[in-house]
């Protein structure tokens, strides 16, 4: 009798110790996961904070000027280049997204198109830059200029614009399309005056994300835009079109290229590169935070209507 009792007791003890162990292991892993998450939050804040603070504390007032020694002109080039690239990528990307969502049939061609878009989005930016260098500069024998850089950045952001537009169109309630078509509108009229206007907030979010990525692009511009800039803000100097800031066919280094050239340049360029990094960081952070905020608002709105 006692033997059976002892055996039972022993079994209970074994299983209890197993449970205790499982719980202990579980607790240890929970702590590990918390630590990793905390580590990354700290890393992001430390990284962003360090770049911004270091950039501005080392900056001298003349560095902010829009002249030969300041980073102002590089800042202008960065914004202007991204603006030009969006002029190209937004219409083409939106039209591509419309094709994917409304016209593409479920066949081998569409599958191929999807793989092509995926390939485009995973191509190294330096490869895209070399392509732009080859067909727009080497083949046409022209000098590096902003427009070619903008085309390369546009190629890099095309997949993002296409998929954003396609997702936006697909997430609309079918009643939008049915209602419009039921009134006798053609598919084109429905897309142009009902579906696309309803997608505008999402498309804008995509544009902001694309712009944020475009600001920091450097590898694609390395051989396409030229890394220096000598634009003049005095209209009298614009007789020479290469000095006119608004001429897209001039050389124009961006902030990211300024950082890259500081790496290869001799000493003394550090403060300028630090400041360029800080400005880039602020631009990128504010754009991606804005995009997240808009996305959150769109989600909330969609949730309310349901």
């Amino acid at each position: 009798m006692t033997e059976v009792k002892n055996e039972k007791k022993a079994r209970v003890e074994v299983s209890q110790s197993l449970i205790r162990r499982a719980r202990a292991v579980d607790n240890i892993w929970t702590v590990v996961f918390y630590l990793v998450a905390l580590f990354f939050l700290l890393l992001l804040f430390a990284f962003a904070g360090y770049v911004i603070i270091k950039g501005f504390t080392g900056a001298k007032p003349e560095m902010f000027r829009f002249d030969r020694n300041g980073v102002g002109n590089y800042f202008f080039n960065t914004v202007y280049l991204v603006f030009l690239s969006l002029l190209i990528s937004v219409p083409i990307g939106v039209m591509g997204g419309i094709y994917m969502a409304e016209y593409a049939k479920d066949n081998a061609f569409t599958k191929f198109l999807r793989i092509a878009i995926e390939t485009l989005s995973s191509l190294p930016s330096i490869v895209v830059g070399l392509f732009g260098y080859l067909i727009f500069l080497v083949a046409t024998k022209s000098q590096p200029n902003l427009l070619v850089g903008a085309i390369c950045v546009a190629i890099l952001s095309l997949p993002l614009m296409t998929t954003t537009t396609e997702d936006a169109l697909r997430s609309l309630p079918p009643s939008y399309k049915l209602g419009s078509m039921g009134m006798g509108a053609t598919l084109r009229q429905t897309i142009q005056s009902v579906l696309i206007p309803a997608c505008v907030p999402r498309i804008i979010t995509g544009v902001i994300l694309a712009a944020g990525r475009g600001f920091g692009e450097a590898a694609a511009l390395l051989y396409t835009t030229g890394s220096d800039t000598n634009i003049k803000w005095n209209p009298a100097a614009w007789v020479n079109p290469s000095l006119n800031p608004f001429n897209p066919l001039r050389r124009g280094g961006t902030l990211s290229l300024k950082i890259w050239t500081s790496f290869t340049a001799s000493v003394g360029a550090e403060d300028v590169a630090n400041l360029s990094s800080a400005i880039l960081m602020i631009m990128v952070l504010s754009f991606s935070i804005l995009a997240h905020y808009l996305e959150g608002r769109i989600k909330k709105k969609m949730g309310d209507t349901k």
């Binding site: 579980d26 092509a116 330096i126 070399l130 009229q189 950082i259 590169a273 952070l285």
Partner: protein
């Protein structure tokens, strides 16, 4: 207003933009292939020499006759990217599990946006901080002559690919049906047991897709790596050694070479290899996805 002409032009432009999306990657491939071919046809190097020998001394003229062994760059890329994966994958998985299993509310509200912001930080900024902070740090801690090393490149790349892997992995883990978790919890499993034995195996294929996407990004990254890895075109002597990768040699040499020269043709060949590698990764992802779909059926 309805007019047949308008409908037709509209449809034409929509289709044109779709076609452009197909034409671009194909055109890029063709141009790089044509340019890269010169190394083999015009300057008579063999593919074996290119892939398996280590002396990269091509002549910057139209006569040629140099040596075109790119093995150092290929191996350099493999080592640096492999190291980056080794560092990034455990952290990425942990962060993804934290976001989905441990603290879903906190994770989606704070950690996920933070990780996505990481994606947007420009690679030159990573490179610059790597060069001005990480490199001197490694130099002091390990008493090296210079901190520029394979390890520095691996760490910078790991920080860069961590967000891409994390977001894909988190989506994959979230897609595992709740019923699978419920069943395991119902049997008395702990959270770690559920995560480790039920959720992760179920999410495996999609997580692998994320890892490959991260690897593809690491392979194509040029400037950040170039800034921290040094310029020695030789096999690295250990983890603190210097080396060069396919992207860094293009980034640092392309500008100074003469158009049409043997040396430049060599760089075009390397660029074409980079293109092929990113194609390969895309196909790998599709094969894995197809296999995963089969398994689920």
């Amino acid at each position: 207003m309805y007019s047949k002409g308008k409908e037709k032009t509209w449809k034409f432009f929509v289709l044109l933009c779709g076609l452009l999306m197909i034409a671009l990657p194909i055109a890029i491939g063709i141009f790089l292939a044509v340019k890269g071919n010169a190394l083999f046809y015009q300057y008579h190097h063999t593919l074996g020499e290119f892939l398996f020998t280590t002396t990269w001394k091509l002549k910057d003229d139209l006569v040629g006759g140099g040596k075109g062994g790119a093995a150092v760059f290929i191996v350099g890329s493999l080592i640096v990217c492999g190291l980056a994966l080794l560092i990034a994958v455990p952290f990425s998985l942990a962060a993804a599990i934290f976001m989905t299993e441990i603290a879903p509310k906190w994770g989606t509200k704070i950690l996920r946006p933070a990780v996505e912001i990481f994606v947007g930080i420009p690679s030159v900024v990573y490179g610059w901080i790597g060069m001005t902070v990480l490199v001197p740090f490694l130099q002091n801690v390990f008493h090296l002559k210079t901190g520029r090393s394979v390890l520095a490149g691996g760490i910078v790349l790991a920080v860069m690919i961590f967000p891409s892997i994390t977001t894909v992995a988190a989506d994959a883990i979230r897609a595992v049906p709740v019923s699978a978790r419920m069943a395991a919890y119902g049997l008395g499993a702990t959270r770690w047991q559920v995560t480790h034995q039920i959720v992760m195996p179920a999410a495996q294929t999609s997580v692998l897709t994320g890892v490959i996407l991260g690897l593809a990004r690491a392979f194509g990254e040029a400037l950040a790596v170039a800034m921290v890895i040094g310029k020695t075109p030789a096999f690295p002597k250990g983890i603190f050694g210097q080396t060069a990768t396919m992207t860094t040699v293009i980034a640092s040499r392309m500008a100074e070479l003469m158009e049409g020269s043997e040396a430049k043709a060599g760089l075009w060949t390397i660029a074409f290899i980079l293109y092929l590698i990113s194609l390969f990764f895309i196909f790998l992802i599709h094969i894995i996805a197809a296999k995963g779909a089969k398994k689920n059926k």
